[in-house]
């Protein structure tokens, strides 16, 4: 019997790439692409106009940070950049659902979550400019360092959540961890092991999967035959699919899952159904593997535009408000551009720092020898 192992498998229940999840999927949506408010019995959400405006501000600024970083990469100031274009609502909605005491574990694309945690966006550039592997103290904003190996951080978050349990901080006034990963990561052993650990230990952790439909060039169909949120049931905890381009829904769903985790009800898998509108990174060329029509379809579901439409539709904001937010975003863009251009290269001896808690004799000797080697060139130049 011939078995076709190479072709794409379109299984019952899998999402389709026109942006419409399978009709059986219970996608949580509280704001339509047209900017109309929708209600969901399980996810009531009362936001004041100011709160909606604040979310809009986040979305616009986060997109501006991304745009500026792409420009900096194109101009040779960053080695690479992983764009979040299209995923702003998933990141801002979930990021704003966290309390200061919750701990977030990002991938390398969570610039929007970083913004919500209060991290200066210029810190993000260090990694992409190549001046450090991680530019901030995770404890400052309870935002862990970017993790590049796909899915590895899901175990760190789960272990961290097990620490919260051991600290006795599950229950009333509890804490929780949230970990971000993508659709491709769901194929990693580490992610599946994290699901098992979180499940059997009932750890206070929320798994936030941004299903942006593409793992570089590989479509969702290469990772899963079923919608990703349904994976959770096999591990014994709830899985929810949310419109990842709907900042209201992402906020409401994440709030509820985090609260459940803090109270001791264990993990939740949230699949934020979204779309990577840009390239995987600045080195990628998505025209080689996907159709322009797909992007066009998703542009109609833009996460920023729908909040703007809502604000306009409800008469909550006028032109002056939108101009003010744009001006603020421009300021943030200027700020990170200037910081990037002024960012010094690290001194060569610094590479010997922080390998161990104390430098070993070997590292001391390598540092001294390399410094002497560098000095030898200085002497030659002086002699000339």
């Amino acid at each position: 019997m011939a078995v076709d192992t190479g072709g794409a498998v379109t299984a019952p229940g899998s999402g389709s790439l026109d942006g419409q999840p399978d009709s059986r999927a219970e996608l949580i949506q509280l704001l339509t692409p047209e900017g109309e408010r929708a209600d969901h019995p399980d996810y009531p959400l009362d936001l004041t106009t100011d709160e909606v405006k604040a979310l809009y501000r986040d979305l616009v600024i986060v997109r501006r940070i991304d745009t500026e970083a792409i420009a900096l990469q194109r101009q040779g100031e960053l080695g690479i950049w992983a764009s979040l274009l299209g995923q702003e609502a998933a990141q801002v909605g979930s990021g704003r659902a966290l309390s200061p005491r919750d701990m977030a574990f990002p991938t390398y694309r969570e610039h929007g979550v970083a913004w919500c945690r209060g991290l200066d966006p210029t810190k993000l550039l260090e990694l992409f400019r190549g001046v450090s592997h991680g530019g901030w103290d995770p404890a400052d904003h309870n935002f862990h360092l970017y993790t590049i190996v796909i899915g590895a951080q899901t175990l760190h978050a789960t272990g961290y959540a097990m620490g919260i349990q051991r600290d006795g901080l599950v229950g009333e006034n509890g804490e929780a961890a949230i970990v971000y990963f993508g659709d491709g990561a769901t194929s990693q052993g580490d992610v599946n092991e994290a699901f098992i650990w979180a499940s059997v230990f009932n750890a206070p952790v929320v798994f936030f999967c941004q299903n942006n439909q593409w793992a570089i060039s590989e479509p969702l169909e290469r990772q899963s035959r079923i919608p990703l949120y349904q994976r959770a049931s096999g591990f014994g905890f709830p899985g929810i699919q949310v419109d990842g381009n709907d900042v209201f829904a992402c906020l409401a769903v994440t709030r509820k899952a985090m609260q459940a985790a803090r109270e001791g009800q264990g993990p939740t898998l949230i699949e934020a159904y979204t779309y990577r509108m840009g390239a995987h990174t600045t080195t990628d060329d998505p025209t080689r593997y996907r159709l322009a029509s797909e992007l066009e379809a998703w542009k109609l579901k833009d996460p920023v535009e729908r909040v703007k439409a809502y604000l306009v539709r409800t008469g909550s904001a006028d032109a002056a408000f939108f101009e003010q937010i744009d001006a603020e975003a421009t300021q943030v863009g200027r700020h990170i551009r200037q910081a990037c251009l002024e960012m010094p290269d690290p001194a060569p001896p610094s590479m010997f720092d922080n390998v161990y808690s104390e430098p070993t004799a070997l590292l001391r000797s390598e540092r001294e020898q390399y410094a002497a080697y560098l000095d030898s060139f200085v002497d030659e130049e002086v002699a000339r």
């Binding site: 450090s132 592997h133 991680g134 530019g135 901030w136 103290d137 995770p138 404890a139 862990h144 360092l145 993790t147 190996v149 590895a152 899901t154 175990l155 760190h156 978050a157 789960t158 272990g159 961290y160 959540a161 097990m162 620490g163 919260i164 349990q165 051991r166 600290d167 961890a177 052993g189 580490d190 092991e193 994290a194 098992i196 650990w197 059997v200 720092d353 922080n354 390998v355 161990y356 808690s357 070993t360 004799a361 070997l362």
Partner: protein, 327 residues
């Protein structure tokens, strides 16, 4: 002083660490009720509870990955990898995450995780139960790699590893688990030899013999046999494989002019290669012969009916000693 097996000495060391620091968490497969397949954690769960001595799901990457998370939350996890050959599913978490977290965070995040690995052959086991993967970890900057050889060191070194702010890969010579020796369980760690220091275990002026883990006893026996031939071996138990205590090694080789490195791991790309290069650089004018290596062949670990041919023994150590005198 009490007489303990190496396994029991580790058990007592772990018990002391659990008593001394409420942040210490022991975790691994079968470490709870069963007490570990080698009984190293025997009785600990009963005395310290299930949240401090954790029977984990059966996945090594999960063990190390969640240990990293616990460490980021302020805990000091001690992971047991049940057998040497089972560490590889955790390789990414150890090499790409655990080892690099300090540098990635510019010293802001520390992950004081200890990973215990029963290692080495000689117990007639099936495949993947007799390996010596220490060079893979010694090659990785950011990890400390140590091996204990006897009960007294086992007791102190496991505690020092847990206290250490750096991640430590702690190799336990599984065929020596039932070796007995006197252990002082009353003394503190302040008087103990530092974790990164080698120890001279037999004094001699003719040949330096460097060993660690299970090969220390083998080399001690070789030293006794060599003495009958009129040769005095300077046997050094390296204890720390990364960083290496090069000062002790170099001082010995400068005295003897000859050096033999012994380990169970394959010699190709093994720790002996690194030591030979360092010794050659630093003792070139004192060397009377090339640094020789005695170790496993460049093959996968063979079926156990052949392991006595694969593993270095007293005669192969003495053969190498003889060969250093042939130059």
């Amino acid at each position: 002083m009490t007489t303990l097996t190496l396994s029991k000495a580790l058990n007592e060391g772990l018990r002391k660490a659990l008593e001394d620091d409420p942040k210490v968490v022991v975790m691994g497969e079968d470490v709870g009720k069963l007490g570990g397949v080698f009984r190293v954690t025997d009785g600990l769960q009963k005395d310290f509870g299930e949240s401090r001595v954790v029977d984990t799901p059966l996945a090594e990457s999960g063990i190390v990955g969640t240990a990293i998370g616990l460490a980021l939350r302020g805990y000091r996890p001690v992971c047991e990898i049940q057998f040497d050959g089972f560490v590889f599913p955790a390789f990414d978490q150890i090499v790409s995450q655990l080892a690099k977290m300090r540098m990635r965070s510019q010293g802001r995040a520390t992950v004081p995780v200890t990973i215990r690995i029963p290692y080495g052959g000689g117990i007639g086991a099936v495949e993947h139960h007799s390996e010596s993967p220490e060079a893979l970890f010694a090659h990785t900057a950011g990890l400390r790699v140590v091996a204990c050889s006897g009960p007294a060191d086992a007791y102190t070194m496991i505690q020092q590893s847990i206290h250490c702010e750096d991640p430590v890969i702690f190799f336990e010579p599984k065929r020596r688990y039932w070796d007995k020796a006197d252990v002082d369980t009353t003394g503190g760690l302040a008087d103990a030899l530092p974790l990164d220091a080698a120890r001279t275990v037999a004094e001699g002026s003719d040949v330096t013999v460097l060993a660690y883990g299970p090969m220390v006893r083998t080399c001690m026996e070789a030293a006794v046999a060599a003495r009958e031939d009129g040769r005095a071996l300077d046997v050094i138990d390296l204890r720390s494989l990364s960083p290496l205590d090069l000062a002790t090694i170099v001082a010995s080789v400068r005295k003897t002019g000859r050096c033999v490195v012994v380990h169970e791991a394959p010699v190709t790309g093994g720790l002996g290669a690194e030591i030979a290069a360092r010794v050659t650089e630093q003792c070139f004018y004192q060397l009377e012969a090339p640094v020789l290596r005695v170790g496993g062949f460049s093959t996968p670990y063979p079926p156990s009916r052949l392991e006595e041919h694969y593993l270095p023994d007293l005669d192969r150590v003495l053969d190498a000693v003889d060969r250093t005198f042939a130059y």
